[in-house]
Symmetry: D3
Subunit: 299 residues, 6 copies
């Protein structure tokens, strides 16, 4: 029986510019739970009774070899996405979204995939100190290469002091839309996510959901490489993911930047784990209610 | 002079299903403060000038011996409750609420005690892998044994993926009421607690207040065994406890599931400590204002 | 070229009454970032292009020698403040606000400086166990000595169980104003800060901004000496600082009580770092918009 | 092809009397290495080219259910041992040696198995506070039940303040032999191990090797439940294991009492991992040199 | 019945020049064990059956008030020592040896007490940055004041880069004797301790034993303020203490510089705890064998 | 005045194959001390009075860009070495020895530099998974390129399970010499170092000393990427470094593989700091005694 969802690890962290360790993210996130997901209390569903979720192992990432590692990620995600299985990728640093979203977009008609991207950082630098594979530039790669249209690339939770103005100018030129943390604070999460969905689906049919765990305030997610104070709370992030997965056709997801050496008591990897599970549960609701999720979605 | 409140430790954690360590909770919570409680700034009271609080030591819990340990807890809590002193029990895992609430209920007329229970988990499993003493089942024991009526057992803060549907079906059959975390997020804490109080006192006169520290988001309470992202903030939990202690006749309280090996900088044990102190302070306000608290309450 | 702002370290923590370690605060806060402050996303400014910020090193604090160390802090801050440069002082414990604010007030006309003070604690004890240099009493020293008028000393975020009633009575006699955490919870941060500004500037022209990092909930700031559960979130504290720096003439600032031995993954020092950067950014906005900031402010 | 060695996890820690956590030992020890064991530098052998080692998973240990869990361990170890495969068991607390060694002894002729037991503690208590399944009493269970003859039960590394005199009297009556840490300090490890081997094989043909990681000094093994200062160094423990595995017919081994919540940077689990690997490597040498190891050993 | 030994806490750490935290030493060391001291395996004695050991609480040390705190320590130790009870003092930083040894010497005839002092540092500075109460100068205070004769002040384990030459010159002038870590490495512990005993008792009849836990290598004692790599192993330090307590008339002891915020898994406090217990056990042996220990010693 | 020694940071860790973090080594090692190096107690010298030591900052290592980063290290070390100043390089991972030793060798006549290399691992792999810049292969690069003759490349402390046999075969073909940890255990450190010196200087005149901190047992050095149990003690490593620096003409040194995210209480960085200081002190002794050290060495 064909799976609906396949978990893939992308243990690559040589795109980081500060604290490394996200290479151990897949191992940590996979084990960051005290139970199987029997019953989603708020959605009232047993997600794993409705959807078939498998673990498709890790992409073969090789220390020191960025191009080969990115290729391995792209291929592994592609093997899943082209079979109309939803890939859920555990990073690794955010650079892995470049090969991952490229593979997903290639499995769908051109222009049919938009991205909702939760993050403290825009990750749209030209490059970082010359490194095209940096975790500070994957979103630029995706837009430059035409994989995702700038106007359907929507960012939520940005804050802090990076990137600089010229990068935001470029982002505006691409038609990108973003919602700063301040907007979330002032308007609340639900209406902002409504807008983000509308913007991402202004053209496309499908959503690639990318969650940088550092969108959470570092108090909830200390185990990450470039923590930026003043972020979201888990209760809001989980609700936002639910909102998106219930209302859009999520065809792929990643959760990135969990760095276990800086984590404590599995705080950060648990949040990443629940982000995945929230999406799975919401997709299960849609399936149960006759909506689309995973392979049937493309039927 | 008879005390009003007696602190009791219940250093038992062999009911846990995942991360142990709560056996060291009593020691950690007792020392988790930098000051004596001189003056509650918001309630404007010196609680320890109004109420006499003593430490009644730990129940004699013996590693590997669940029944004997539970008996020791029941007896020790009973020695206090039957003297119309309010027991405040520091766990230990949540299984200790079984003997503790049993002893408290026995000290009052049948049907006169309701429970407000803060927790991420319902703890109403039939048993967990066959263990009747599990921290996943004490609330079922209490209802099955008739100690507390299901309809007066009110739960606040539930979230995540456990227990499964059949357990919720059983809970409904018992008339239990619960308020999921999502409801707290949407309605706010104050009105939900109003409802919880009304439900718990729909019949009974007294309240047993049980606080599983994992009702807090793990970012505030990393030192616990089964952390579930997306929980309450301390500022809200403390206010909720105050609301209950001011408006109801709290005759007993427990704070459980503080696991020091997973704690950092005493974060979790400080929260537990302040939960107790908030209740003590609110009870002091009632006493000062001529209301009931502790031994006079039963007079 | 004269700087606008000078960072000064005050590595003194022998005023603490509980967990020490804040002596290592200056070293930790200085390095608590993964980037230079290129662009403030919400204020849309490159703060360091607008304002000249220098590091003026540490005051020479000597273990065991409180008076000499306080003198060194007062002199070093004075060297900056008297040159119409804004000192931004990194503590150390909160006792350093006594010499620091004394030096700042001396550089301005009498009565022209008010204080907005974020903290869980009022720090207005007569003394603590006889120690006049305690971190529990600097605010009393400042008012007693006439450096700051009680009525222009405004405190935000107080909570917990200290100081006792007689200290609050004294505070009332001095005309001090304060906003408990409960008020922040009920009214929201923005209107409370509006009030605080009005109270602090009820007479004075300038603001000394003092941020005890323990005003944050310990979940966000574990690395501090006397953590009190139930505090602010970083997103709110940063916004409050912005509000004050945009609307008042901030002539000095300190951030204190970061204790690295109790910190994890730099959580607390990052928050302190961003508090300083938020103020710098807001001051840059004012400068850019023709308003006053730093040396020109006094011109 | 039949394996030579099977790794088995025994995730049970409810026999502990102090710090729990060893239930997570199997997961931690299995991943506590940065490489596969390509080449033992001192023994000059590629152990996994010579011996076939498989992972036989964990025994099904159920929280709160000591008897069932011990039975599961005994059966799982028995499934391996009765097939002439060497079980290498990762604890779990030391109580697991009771079912494990019982299963191993049952797979060999009566009286043919001796034990060499590295530990800070004798673990020969009658019971601990009444618990027959305590980690303080498994060795007594093994001797009382006749599984191992007292005179062939040899302990190395004992120190500290437990068990009391009457237990040592009982041990003497059983003919047990032991070598205190002081003897290791004074005579050196090699000659003491020579004696231990002779004593354990004074009758038996086979050795069950049991390593409580707390035989190491806590500086090397902080992640354990009952650490006792003044222990062995890893370089000596590894050599001792090699000496035993080269010179005797080791038919089973366990490594126990690794408690990950108290570990740091995997220090303790790495030591446990290398203890197993040292034994595997030495057994590989014997196989290569025509000696016996594992299944062929019983041929 | 008069006790033989009294434990006293000296929670004072404002003499430290680097990492503070030793104020929490008494609390940590008192609880750093998983058992009562039932039976010393190597000395074959039940120490607490032979000697009566009581806890005499903490000296009242007040933050910021060095002189008062030192006075409190001196008085509390004096209350014990003058009753011919052996004080065992838990620091606190090493400055506490000044008041403690002063009180002990005052309880015995002039010149009758020598000191054996285990430490990485000589602690004989004139002062440290002007602080006479520094933990770098207590030994100078003791010699200057004539409390202990320089020639009977023997130091063991010194290493590293402090104090400077002129301090060693002064030490030589006083006739002090010391044994560098290199000598321990080359000659072994036992003969060096033999010499140290002879030197300390070259005149005096009694020994004050002072153990700075940083004499251990930081790998065994990370929780200390001024760690110096290249130190002793616990197995050797414990043996050295035993040797001294068995062969001399130890009339007082202290263990200092345990800093819990830097400790991990209680490593350092356990070592300190066992140092005390080793001395207690050896003293018990002497008492049992008719020798002197504690109050009878002075009879 | 020309310096004798220049400290250089090489914050590069993308050569690691397992736990990253050594990029933060330079920052951690530079601050890992509580004092200036006033007086070496065993060598009886004030090293910084005799030798002029400067900090030459960090080589500009750029995340993701191995070749550029290695070039920056080579150039920066070369700037020092060609001026007859002794470079002391703080890693970073061990791959930095490739550019560093290349630069040093280039500053001396061909064949005139031998290497003594302390490490758990030989680091002589052809490459690791295809990465020529891996920390597992720098020594091969140095020998292949002719920078150092194989026969003058001497390794001390090797242990564990890597590299495989074919790499050792290659090492033998190059005439490399090595001393396994087992040899140190059996013969003691002093004679082995005597041999190592003779082997390294069997032809060359100068020594490049490379210390991988993982040559220490992980108990002393938890903060490293590929820890291997069973290593050296600090007291022995420091003595070995002293022996080499006193007896040979050390013209360069590096200390590598300190990974602060895995360190605790600065244990590992302190050891690295003292390794450098031990060499500096020994070189100072030689200078004082008229021997050669640093720039005069080449005169």
């Amino acid at each position: 029986m064909r799976p609906d969802i396949a978990i893939i690890g992308a243990p690559w962290d040589e795109g980081v510019t500060y604290r490394p360790g996200a290479r151990f993210g897949p191992r940590a996130v996979r084990t960051a739970s005290y139970q199987t997901a029997e019953w989603h209390l708020e959605l009232e569903i047993a997600p794993l009774d409705v959807l078939r979720v498998v673990d498709y192992g890790d992409a073969r990432c090789l220390p020191g070899l960025a191009e080969l590692s990115h290729t391995a990620i792209r291929e592994r995600v592609g093997e899943v996405a082209t079979r109309a299985i939803i890939p859920m990728v555990i990073g690794g640093d955010h650079s892995i979204t470049w090969p991952s979203a490229t593979a997903v977009a290639a499995a769908h008609p051109p222009g049919s995939v938009g991205i909702v991207h939760f993050d403290a950082h825009a990750d749209t630098g030209t490059n970082v100190w010359g490194n095209l594979y940096s975790h500070g530039s994957p979103m630029r790669r995706l837009i430059e290469s035409g994989v995702i249209a700038g106007r359907n690339f929507v960012q939520v939770g940005l804050r802090g002091y990076w990137p600089p103005k010229d990068v935001f100018d470029w982002m505006r030129e691409q038609g990108m839309r973003w919602h700063l943390m301040g907007e979330l604070r002032d308007r609340g999460v639900v209406p902002v996510i409504e807008d983000a969905i509308a913007e991402a689906l202004d053209g496309p049919d499908h959503i690639y959901l990318s969650v940088d765990i550092d969108v959470l305030d570092p108090g909830f997610a200390p185990g990450t490489g470039t923590p930026e104070p003043g972020g979201m709370q888990p209760v809001d992030l989980l609700h936002a993911i639910r909102q998106i997965a219930l209302q859009t056709d999520v065809v792929a997801m990643d959760v990135v930047e969990v760095s276990p050496p800086y984590d404590w008591a599995e705080l950060t990897s648990q949040n990443a784990h629940r982000c995945l599970l929230e999406a799975i549960s919401a997709l299960a609701v849609k399936r149960r209610d006759g909506g689309s999720a995973g392979n049937r979605a493309s039927g």
